[in-house]
Every structure is written in C-alpha cells, then in structure tokens.
Symmetry: D2
Subunit: 338 residues, 4 copies
C-alpha cells in the first residue's frame, strides 16, 4: 500500500461552452439563481451563493457546446508543484498560463480523452458587493431566492472512450480517490466516480460510445436540501425548462438528482446528498451491468438520452437541448394515462 496523494483540494471552477450565450446566461441567472460576478471577452463568470471563490462557472460563447476546461485547486504551492511534475512526466502536460480572472498561474494539461484541465493554487476570495453582503459572516454571500438558488458547483461528469485509462490518470496523477465503478460483463469499465474529499463524487468518467473525444456529460450544482430540488422542479416546469430526469435518488453515490438542459444544449444537474466517504482506505464499490439495470435507488429507469447524449453532440441533431420543454412534450393521442 502506498501513501495517498493529498495534493489537490477541489474543483474550483469549470468552463462551459454555449452556442447561445444570451439564453444560457439568462438560464443560469434566472433559473439556477447564480450571480454574474464578472464579464470579460466572450465569457461571463457566474457564482453560486455559497462559493468562497469568486466564481464556479465560466460561461463562454462558442460554436459548439461542451466543456471548455475544468480547474482544480491545489492544497499548497508545494503540492501544486508535485502534481505539475507528475503530470509533466506523463506527456499530457501543456504548460503554464498566466492565470485567469480570480486566480493565479495555472498549469494546463489534458486527460487521456483530451478534456482540458488546469491546476493552480493562488485563488482570490469572493468579496460581496453591499447588496449581496450576508448577515452571518461565515457565509460568503446572501442567500438567494431566485430559481434553483444553487449553492456551488459540485461535480463534473465527462465522457471518455476509455474510462479505465482516464480513471487511472485521475487516480495516479491527480490523487483522486476512486469510490465507485461500473464494470461491464466483458471487464471493460463503464463509469468511475472519484473524489478529492469526503464528498461522494467530484469527478466522474462515463463511457462515450460515440467515438468522439473530450465530451461533457453534465455539470452539477449543489443545493443544501432535497426539498430544494423538488422546488426547483416546480419552477423549471413553469419555465418550460426541458427536464430529462425528474427528481429521484441515484443508486451510485446516493445523490438526489434533477437533470435538465440549459439552452446551449448542455446537460446540467441540481444535486444534493450527504453520502460521505470517511474511510481513508475505501474499497471501491463495483457495480455489475445486471445490478445497474435495476435502475436508480428507488427503481426509476433512466431515459435513453442520458446514455447517448453528450456535448458537443455528434448525432446531427439541431443545436440546443435534445428534448423539448416539459410542457410541450407532444401528446400521444391514444394514451389514457392516469
């Protein structure tokens, strides 16, 4: 047994690409309840009310939707350097940049599937403007009532043609701890749930069967309670948000979920959960195909797009969400659903 690698702390932000930047921005502000912290070039920097860092989402105009990059903060300058050295040895390193709004120099690299990542240590702390100043000094910002009122970015789920290779890279080079896996009957890996903390998942790889590279499955934002997820569903229905999966509970990692599409066509999740992994020598849970076929925690089966759609889409669909808004789902004439 080797000592655990405890050099990286958490995902500080993710950059989401959208071909419809105004609609996407309106979605994240009005329906996810985020604040615009900064604008620069073709990007808007957005934050959930509970983030200590200035922003958790960089929303950038782009021809195609998907993940721009994902940024991970290190525990210290020394631990950052250790990871830079290790990544450098893998050949996936790209090099240092000067930093971006709100954080210092970052080392860029890709994972084996080609997603862009960066790691850094120097991070500004959010200083709220007067109208967002909280009354309790241990929260970074006033509570928000708008839309889902998401608290902070929670996890990133990316697709990969070779889950095993990317899982190994994350564990061995970045220090992610592998908590759960789906192993196909042929021994190949279907998915890997990993974390840098006691949270049940912060980085997830699931299999991309489309033969594409560097795609995004979804970004997830945290709320404190399951009731907030149920509340968000009511608000989303009234706002014609396309709901892919109504609120229910995952089997893997035990999180409560609500999956919807933002106007750019990216899948986004509102999630919560307190399934913590405290065991420093945790033996990963390995699910078989048969076990996963039983559905989510309470038996709910997932709809097909969840297994086939990622961004950028490669199916030739028109841009935007792959499913229609809830309230406009075409009626099936002969159905007599109660």
């Amino acid at each position: 047994m080797t000592e655990p690698i405890l050099d990286l702390a958490h995902i500080a932000h993710a950059e989401l690409l959208t071909p419809f930047p105004e609609d996407s921005l309106r979605f994240f502000v009005e329906l996810f309840g985020m604040e615009i912290e900064h604008r620069e070039g073709q990007s808007v920097f957005l934050r959930g009310w509970g983030e200590y860092q200035p922003y958790g989402l960089k929303l950038t105009e782009s021809e195609l939707p998907g993940l721009g990059h994902m940024a991970i903060r290190a525990w210290s300058p020394e631990s950052l350097q250790r990871r830079v050295d290790a990544i450098g040895r893998t050949g996936y390193g790209i090099g240092w940049n000067e930093g971006d709004h709100g954080h210092g120099p970052a080392f860029e690299f890709t994972d084996p599937d080609g997603h862009r990542l960066e790691i850094f240590f120097e991070q500004d702390r959010y200083v709220p403007p007067e109208h967002l100043r909280p009354r309790l000094k241990n929260v970074p910002q006033r509570h928000v009532d708008r839309g889902a009122a998401v608290k902070r970015i929670d996890h990133v789920n990316v697709l990969a043609s070779d889950v095993a290779a990317n899982r190994r890279f994350a564990v061995e080079q970045l220090g992610y701890r592998l908590y759960e896996q789906i192993i196909n009957d042929d021994g190949s890996e279907q998915g890997a749930w990993m974390s840098l903390s006691i949270a049940a998942h912060e980085l997830i790889y699931t299999a991309d069967h489309a033969g594409a590279a560097g795609r995004l499955h979804h970004l997830a934002w945290f709320v404190d309670t399951r009731e907030e997820i149920l509340r968000a569903a009511d608000l989303f229905v009234d706002a014609d948000v396309p709901i892919e999966a109504a609120p229910s509970k995952h089997a893997v990692a035990q999180g409560m979920f609500l999956y919807v599409y933002e106007p750019g066509g990216n899948r986004v999740e509102v999630t919560t959960g307190t399934h913590f992994i405290f065991d420093p020598a945790y033996e990963p849970v390995r699910w078989t195909q048969a076990e996963r076929a039983r559905g989510q925690a309470w038996g709910v089966k997932t709809i097909e797009t969840f297994h086939t759609y990622g961004t950028p889409d490669v199916s030739g669909r028109p841009p935007g969400p792959p499913i229609p808004p809830t309230s406009q789902i075409p009626a099936i004439p002969d159905a007599t659903v109660v």
Copy 2:
C-alpha cells in the same frame, strides 16, 4: 345553482381483503407503521397514529384481494338520515346493519359499479393505551417511528366500468365535490377526483377496462411531509417491497406519491400534499388525454401496471403483487445503465 350537499364528513375507514393475511398484517404493522387496535374473527383493525377514530383500516382474510367496503361518516344524525333517504330512492340501498367494532349502526349500499359502501354517524374516539399516550393532548397517539409511520387513511381509488355513472352517484347522492376529471377524446370519462373536504381528493374513480366490477385501484395513507415519502422509499427498498412508482408528484391533484404492493396483491400508496380546494363553487379541472400523456407533474411516465392492474386481478396472474420486489428485478444482461 343548487345548494351544496354537506351531509357527509369523511371516509372513516376502509376494509381491505387479502389472501395472505399474516403477510399483509406484517406489512401494515412493520412497513406502514400502523398499530393493531383490535382483532375480531378474520379481521384485524389497524390505525395510523393520527387517526381520531379507533382505526382506519379493517384488514380481512379473503380468498381474493380487493376492497371489502368503504365507510363514510356523516356530519350528524340528521344529515345521515338525509343521505339514507336519498340513497334509498336510487335503488342502490341495501339496509342498516348493527355497526361494527368502533362505530354504530351503518346504512349499507353499493355504488353503480358494485363497490360496497356504508354511512354512519356514531363513531368511537380512540383512547390510547398507556404506552401509546402522546405528550401533547391534541394528537390522538404518540408519534410512530416504524416504517412509513403513516398518519391516517387519506383516499380510496376504485375502478369502475362507467366512471360517469359512479361520479354522478357520488356527487348527487353522497355530496362529493368534483375537483378534477380526465375526459377522453371520445367524451367518455377516464377518471374523477372528488372530495368531501378541502383535501384535493378523498374518493377517486378511474376507468376499469377489464370488464370487471367493484374492483380496487389503491388505498392511500397520508404522511405529513414529502421527506417522509423519500424516507419510506429507502426503507421499502431495503425490505424488498415491490415499488410500482417511486416518489414523485402527481399532475392531477398535485399530491406527492409512492406506490407499492402489499403482500396480498393490493396496491397501496403513501401520499402527502397541501393542494386545498377552498372555492365552494369550484369549477372542476378537466384534463384531456393529450394533457395527461405528458406524464406526472415533473414529466415522469407511469408504468403499465398502473393502468391495467386492480384487485381482484382478472388477468390470471398468480396471487400477490404483479411485480417483483425492487431488489430482485431480473437484470437485463445487455443494459449499460448509468
């Protein structure tokens, strides 16, 4: 406009028939958290912790599952007599019985579909034994931790080959207020949601397409919060209870639901909701087939058995639940569900 009929107050209890009485009893005690209040003959009388009456469920051994009878309490002796007179004139009256455990003489009758009903006024109040005595005197019994810890019987959903005829009988003879309906494209009625109170539904008729009579769709018990329904789902999964529909929110009547099967094969629901109808001249909401085909409130589609199965079953299935326990759903070998 005629004056509303305000003679009946609420469903005081329902009798459920089961071919597996010991298993059903264990289910209602251990998993629904009910108390055995009395035993007599082939029946056990069970109560939810919040019922003022001694029991809300009479569980009776029977060759086939289904509804034994449903009992409605009147507002007063005078209002009871008015309803007896009215029902008598319809030809559906059967006659008075001497009462049963916990209540006085009741007038028996059937609805047009043949379900057995009775109405009465004299009702005992529950007096808890010492170990169930609550500390706050305005609740009838101590709070319960066991299983779903249901509070009280909430509503009865029965099947009928002619929904319109039964709906008219309930409205005109019993004074039920019609709150919601599903009207098929051919003008026939698919379902009717009715109540004697501000609660969104207490008596529901939905269409029985099997050509049978007097069948039960489900009985529902109330809990105070949605979180209790989510908690019940976790407990039911661990106890191998067959879950037909995982927790979600109904479009019609806006109730949160969780549908499972008790061992006798009857569908039972844990529900909550605060969608109240205060308008004394409420115009019933009429849903079209197309609208209902959009699924439940958050888009969830209902599984087939919900539309085809009632008790007693007429399909030739073996006795007991029509679906397997959640944890034993046969795996689909080629599925790669995430």
Copy 3:
C-alpha cells in the same frame, strides 16, 4: 346535539392597515413573494401564488396599523342569507355594501370586540396574465421563487378583551368549529382556535389585556412545507426582517411557525401544517395555564412581545416593528454565548 352550521366556507381575504404603505408593499412583494393584482385608491390588492381568488390581502394606507376588515365567503347565496339573518338578530349587523374589487355585495358586521367583518358569496376567480400562467392547469398561477413565496392566506388571529363572548359569536352566528382553547385557572378564556374546514385553525381569538378593542395579533400565510419556512428564515435574516419567533412548532394546533414584523408594525406569520380535524363532532382540546407554560411543541418559550403586542399598539412605542431587525440586535457586552 344540534346540526352543525355549514354556511360559511373560508376567509377569502383580510385587509391590513399600514402607516408605511410603500415599505409594507415592498415587504409583501419582495419578502413574502406576493403579486400585486390590483391597485385602487389607497389600497393595493396582493395575492399568494396558490389563491383561486384574485387576492387574499388588501393592503391599505392608514394612520395606524391593524386589521381593516376580514372577509368570509359563504357556501352559496342561500347559506349567505341564513348567516345575514342570524347576524342581524344579534345586533352586530351593519348592513350590505356593494362589494369591492373582485367580489360582489357583502354584508358587514362586527364581532363583539369590534373587529370589522363581512360575508359574501360572489367571488371572481383569478385569471393570470401570460407571464404568470402556470403549466399545470389545476394551479391558479405559476410557482414563485421570490422570498417566502407564500401560497395563500391561512388564518387570522385577533385580540379580544372577552375571548369567550367572541368565541361564542363565531361559533353560534358564523358556524366556526371550536377546535382548541386555553382556559385560565380562574375559568376565563385565554384563547380559542376555530375553523370552518378541516384545517386546524382559520380564526383565532386570544386575550387582549391592554383594554383596547378590535386589535390584530397576526395574519398568517401558508407555505406547503416546513423546509420553506426554514428557507424563509435565512432570507429574512439577510434582509434585516425583525424575527420575533424563529421557526419551530406550535403545541396548540401543531403548526410550524415563523413570526416576523412587516414594516407597518403588524405581526405576520409564515406557517404550514397538516394537522387536520376530520371528526365532525370534535371535542375541543382545552389547555390549562400550566400546560401552556411548558412552551411550544418542542419546549421553546415564546418571547414577551408575543403576549403583549398587537396592532394598533397602545403602549406608546414609536410606529413600526416593536423589535429591531435580527442582525442589529444590540450586543450584550458580557455575554459569552456559544
């Protein structure tokens, strides 16, 4: 035993007086999440998202805060007339008015303590503008995210120098059902909780020891879940709303509560609860002083203002809330509170 009087259906709206109309309006819109439905003269008509009627609150500028009037809707024209006749015989009748925005002719009267009431039958139904149109047709309006997002007016608590006289008037003339009481050791009545429905309270009288007449204790608005009350508390703290009583559970009537002051100085409550009274012959629960001294359901003691302050205030305090905003409570220098 006489037959119950089932002539009145529910409190349709209440008129609240405020010396600071702009601040009060901002409070109800931004912090209670209500919609402005109409403006007329010195009044603004406001609604919760779940009200079938156009509004539940008429907010009127006035020199002093307090209750303008309370309006109760009858079950039918005939039942309305029966109550008019009965009230007329008591000598408390004032006479018919032509109606107000949203409802037809109303019969005005006072209770023995001098509060103004009216009863009517003809009531408009709310028709939402396009931007508030809900996606599910059985709710009257889109869900609201703003502030506490109250659903509907729930109950009215008024002070009375003679609780017994007013309780008898409400029961005998209006048909209210008495569900709970506090009886002082000297036999006098401290409070009476009454309802026209299964809801645990819709009209409450508590003792006014100040020798004043016609005063208001508080108006309460309903939300669907306890989590919404906890959420509202967070929002209110950040907005410097004076919180008189933090979220907890009442012993009497079992409701979850959160009491705050609106800028006009009136006490208002956000509440929820599913303690329903289904027994048509309910025996009122009578609490002794000793029992009530044990505090609320979980032992919380109520602060002094709850027992001494009503509107209009008669203590000589400056206008506005009698307590400071939460975040500005003067620090006690020697306290070392953990």
Copy 4:
C-alpha cells in the same frame, strides 16, 4: 505558509461514560436508533446505520459520565507514524496500546486539557448480519426507522480551561484545520471549531469556566436531512427525553441542531448540515462576543445550561440530566403563554 498536515482522516469513534449503563443503552438503541454491534466487559459498542467502521460509539459503565476517549484514524501507516512522532515530542504522549474491538494498535495521548485521545490506522470494516444487509451495496447497512435513526458520529465538543492551548495542539500536532473561533473582548478564546475534512466541524473546544479538566460538552450524530431532526424532536417529546435546545440553526458552522440529554447525564446532539469548507487556505472566521450575543442563526437564544453544564458535572447536582423531561417541566402558575 507551511504545507498543511494531512495525516489524520476522521474521528473513528468516541467512548462515552455513563453511570446508568442500562438506561443509556436503551436510549441509544431505541431513541437514537443505533445498533448494538458488540459487547465486551463493561462496554457496549454501538453504530449508526451509515458507519463503514463497526462502531462509532463505545458506551462504558463508569461512576461518572463524560468522555472516555476519542479515537482518530490516520490516512496511512506512514501518516500515523508522523503524528506519533510529533505528539511524542510534545510530552503529551502516553504510549501504544494493542488496539480494541474493531481496530488495531493505537497510540494514546492527551490534549493539554487532559482529554484522552488515541490515533490508529488499522480499522475493521463493518460486515452486516443478514437481517441488516442493505439492498444497495454502497451503503454499509440497511436504513433504520427506529428513533432518530442517526447515521454516524459527526463531531466531538469538549470543554477546556485554556481553549487556545488545546486549539494550537489540535492544529499543530494533529493537523486539524481551524474554521471558526469566538474571541472574547479580552483577547482570550471562547471556542474553536476545527475539522480534518470539508465538514464544518469535527472537533470543537469551548471554554470550561468551572475550573475542571477533561470534560465533555457534547457528542453529535449526523442525520441526512433537517426534516429528520424535526421528526426526532416529536419522537423525543413523546418519549420524555429532556430537550435542552429545540431544533434550530447554529450561527457558527451553520449546522441544524437538536440538543438533548441521555440518561447518563451527557449532552448529545442530532445534527445535519452541508456547510462545507473547500478552501485549502481558509481564513478562520472570528466571532466577537457582541456578534455571538445575537443568538443562533435565526436569533434563538441558548438556555443557560448550555454554557454551564458539562460532564462530569462539578456543580453538585444529582447524577443524570440537569433538566427535567420536556413533558414534565413544572408549570409556572401565573404564566399565560400562547
């Protein structure tokens, strides 16, 4: 800036002493919903349903109540050795023991205030018996319905005559991260909230003004939702559990709380919260006396015993809880509380 010490992972268990072992055991099993995992000598080993380790509580018969010891698990054998070496240099080391039920050799030491601690790495994993086997393989045990159904031990709050000295020891020798503090006006420290993870607190020191040493303020167990805390309060009231502080939300660390006394006289808490500290360079929040005097998050003031009582008690009270059961609080004759 030095690199953070990331050698210890989490509090694996705590030993609680009780002069009334049978009553305490019944409390933790029936009211906290824990399982008896093992018995040995004068101790019973108890677990919450979500603990990966065999137990989180060792309950031991003793003349006086209080904390027996607290055990912290290291990240690896190497990290364990680093901490042993560091502690050894402080003079607070005691030496290695052979381990205890469920874990391997542990190094014993005290903090400056004299509380007994131990650190170890080798830890058995819980293997549930058949009747407690969960249906989802990523949870260690079936869900529990009994009582508060606590999930796992969450944090330990101990008293110390010199908070600063103990806080420094925890930070410098054990690697705890300091998240929040109360600093008295005279510069002395009133309390320190620390953690080994993103959880807002795992180890808390608060000032002991009694001149005693090594005392316990409280042990806390986690549940997943705030609704579970409200549910627990209802169950505790009915079971005559002495409630010191009804459910509300802390200002410091933002946790939802419910404080009660177990029969041995120790204060225990049911808590939940998702206030996570992701910032690896978190600047501790420092509260002043004036700020803390404003009460908890929603303004609730804490009762006196919370600031004066610890175990073992040094005030000369009779053994057992310092306050009576909720339902038996002596009535104050002249109170007319509504």
